[in-house]
Symmetry: D5
Subunit: 134 residues, 10 copies
């Protein structure tokens, strides 16, 4: 939960977009700077997504990596982003509030359906960007 600074975020996004191009993975990465927190969607082939998730779980810089949902899908929802980024600190608070039981975002306590609904609401707005960093 240490703060996430610009350099770290930019490096994560840059490497993630390079890898995802190769792996055929799409998705978005929501970031809260302090306390540091990621909420991420990955879409792609079963083997590729699992290999990437194993990599994330094994990455010593993360901890408490927790799946909220994992399912076979009929079609991808986030094809516009190799790894779009959302700065949760700049997002309209009512989006977070609508899908949270408390005032602050706590993905660990969100239902899978609630997290997906929030991510779709973010994706349908203008909150997602493709540039590598802040």
């Amino acid at each position: 939960m240490a703060p996430i600074d610009d350099a770290l975020l930019a490096s994560i996004l840059r490497r993630s977009r390079q890898n995802n191009e190769v792996l055929g993975i799409t998705g978005i990465l929501c970031v809260q700077r302090d306390p540091g927190l990621f909420l991420q969607v990955l879409e792609g082939g079963r083997a590729e997504v699992n290999r990437l998730y194993a990599h994330i779980v094994g990455d010593a810089r993360h901890y408490d990596a927790t799946l909220l949902d994992y399912a076979e899908i009929d079609a991808r929802s986030f094809t516009s982003w190799r790894m779009g980024s959302v700065d949760l600190d700049k997002v309209n608070r009512s989006i977070v509030l609508r899908h949270s039981s408390g005032s602050a975002m706590d993905p660990y306590s969100m239902s899978a359906a609630g997290a997906l609904a929030m991510l779709e609401e973010l994706a349908s707005g203008a909150a997602i960007v493709n540039k590598d960093g802040p």
Copy 2:
């Protein structure tokens, strides 16, 4: 059922909005001045909503506090209001009439579904305000 005057209403709304900010609670409060009557929606975490409701039930200024519905929800509906207020005396009467069996509003005899439909109709109109009082 004593009349509700401006001072009382303003004080209820002011304190309610302060508390709800802290508790992460949203909702609206419909007020009928005379005979005095409140119809209220609270959205938030289970523990916070229950604690607030216990406070309302124990408040000697209210009586006959009655739940019409209580349920886990997928998403909040009233995120625009820490505690929006609706002056039922100024609302289009056909909204009340559509969801009541008689001419006057009697929430004690409303079905849960009917009360929710009326509250949603109020929320989708311009009847809800955020200012503290009359």
Copy 3:
């Protein structure tokens, strides 16, 4: 089935609107002048609607009063009218034709669903008026 003249219709509507205001009843009254025929919707509390219907059944000027449907409803549909009136002789014939098996309107042979669909089509058009008479 005797013809219904202007004076009779005006008196029925006037008294009906006065009573419905008190009883919290809304609805519409479709009138065919000759042969005389009424098709009516009443919305309101269970006790009030039953009391009014008993009054209609006991009124010597009517006969063959027949219920087509009676049900608990989630919300009223005719809140704009204390007792709106529809002159069936002036209504677009295709509305009547769409919901009738023959060319002329015969509510006694209409299904409950057919009658409701016709009344909703009338209500959504401009066929209903509030003035007391012809």
Copy 4:
């Protein structure tokens, strides 16, 4: 709500069964002796059921006759009875309790669905008899 004695009940059932044979009407009559109360189902042709209901409404011995439900049905449910009778004072109290909000039966406050469910539960048990009286 005056008490209903054996002679009255027997006379009502006898006449009802004679008339229903002619009118093609079937149904059941639930009786509570004191305070006197009837809960009745009528099944049959639209004209016949309406004519019989007008008769009931106009009968000076009844008051507060109130419809709970009235609908077109796909098939009758009570074909075994010209007018079966149920003595509510002898019925298993848990049947009444299951469909009532209070301890005593109060059909005026029952929902249409609740009343129908109770009547079907009575019909599927052995509570209904065909003999004319107590």
Copy 5:
């Protein structure tokens, strides 16, 4: 969360059954002795259930009273019990495990649907008794 001894439980059940007879309330009370915990179902009229719940909330011997669900129902499910009691310490652990995310029962973290499913599974087994105490 103080332990609940036999005398306390017997007194709660005795008084509860007396009151519920008068109020027309049915339900069951699941008890865990140590740490002390109640999980309770109340069925009855809206006014009666609310009045009883206000009493429970205001009872200094309880704290953290929390509603899991509250809804209008079509029919009662627990008509066999004025207030049946379930000793959770003696119940087959797989029933609790099936509806809990952890090994121990923690109703505060149960979903409304999960709690209801567990209560129905208890009711359909032989776990509920009517005697006043241990």
Copy 6:
């Protein structure tokens, strides 16, 4: 995909059952001896299941750990087993065949629904045992 011998399997099951008792996790472990292959179900709290899965992914003795499905559930299905074991080599082949596109079991190519259906069919039969090993 190296063969799994009795000692390895017994040690996995013994440790798994000890841990699951503490973590409140239930499930089953299907084993194919040669080529070595596990198909496993874990049920429990979100945090516990994720922590255990991270442990599995990081365990150097496994590779290609692949999630087939991960979802919030209304109730557990495998409460009878801390970690039941299924010897796929001894299971009726028509169970495997029914849910596979080829003759041999290949979970990597199974749909999530197909794998769940096969596991439920195994659980409803007598294929699952609790003893620690062969």
Copy 7:
């Protein structure tokens, strides 16, 4: 509506069964003797059923031939009968009553669904015979 005597019925059934064998048609024929009335089901290929129906309509011995329903079906329901016969005068009256609005059977006023439900109830009982006549 002239009475139908044994000779007529036997001749109709004999010829019908011969023809249906050739045409691949199955079904049942319900007969009321006096006043004479047939209610018939025909199942088969589109061309064959239409050719047979044209024959029935053009047969001077029938009049007022009226279709109640005609539809493409997923599977036949009456494969046991080339043309089973039902003597409506001998059938349990409650079957007719259940699907009729009056006491006597009047197929002209039956809904398609009601007629089909009655025919299926007849078919599932022992009312249908295959012998040629009375």
Copy 8:
């Protein structure tokens, strides 16, 4: 299947519209000139539609009259036409193609649903006219 010339078509439409006015029947008549073929919709009372269909079946100028569907309807779809006419030779071919298995229209091989869908597509376009003939 003989060609249909203008005089024949005009005479059929003229007489059909006169009769339908009296019988309360509405519908459309699709005509293919050579080989001559009609596809027709009739809407109206059960007795009237059956009488008209018997007349069509018995008319020596037609042969192979075949019903594609016949059903009770909630509301008419073709109230704008006493008997609207569609010249299939002038209709956009993709409408016919969409609902046919081959290139040419062959109603005898169309499913009921396919024929209805084609007729509704024709009715919602500008293909239907009311004038008596070519």
Copy 9:
């Protein structure tokens, strides 16, 4: 459509069962001897089933090979048979009749749903055998 003699059928079944064991294919083969006709179900992997079907289409001894249905399935239905055989000449005729428009089986005119329903009815009876031939 030449007759199918015992030698041909036995050779087809023998080779088919050998191949299907290797390909992981299951299914049944319905045979009508004269005129010769096969109706077959194949279940298995996409590539295997397509390769086998290409082989059937290219086999000079068959002609007019026609697919009735082809779909991804959740689970196989015919796992008991490498290639079960059904002698349609010995099957209860009412099974064929129930799913055919005419008296004789004509799979070319059967709907996909009708053919599947007939095959499932055959499979649930005792009509399918595994021995290689007559």
Copy 10:
């Protein structure tokens, strides 16, 4: 999987459009030039589509012809094209990506539903052309 050059594609499209006009077949042909790959939809009568598919399977220039789906349809979706062509190399990559698990299109691993969704998305865009070739 050899590359597909302009001459080959033009000749395939020309002949396909000629044949389809005669057979009443419509559809689209998606082409990837290198490695060469076709994804095709055929709509039409059962016999015609099967005959054409047998021809494709038997055509030595193709191999690994694989059905993704085959079903009876209520209406055609591609009536605008005798055989529309789509150059997959020029299509918006996000359409392919949305329905693929990897970055490149691999129809052999697509689900039937995914392939259909991609084809419909292509058809609703401007990707399909009718000219014979590149």
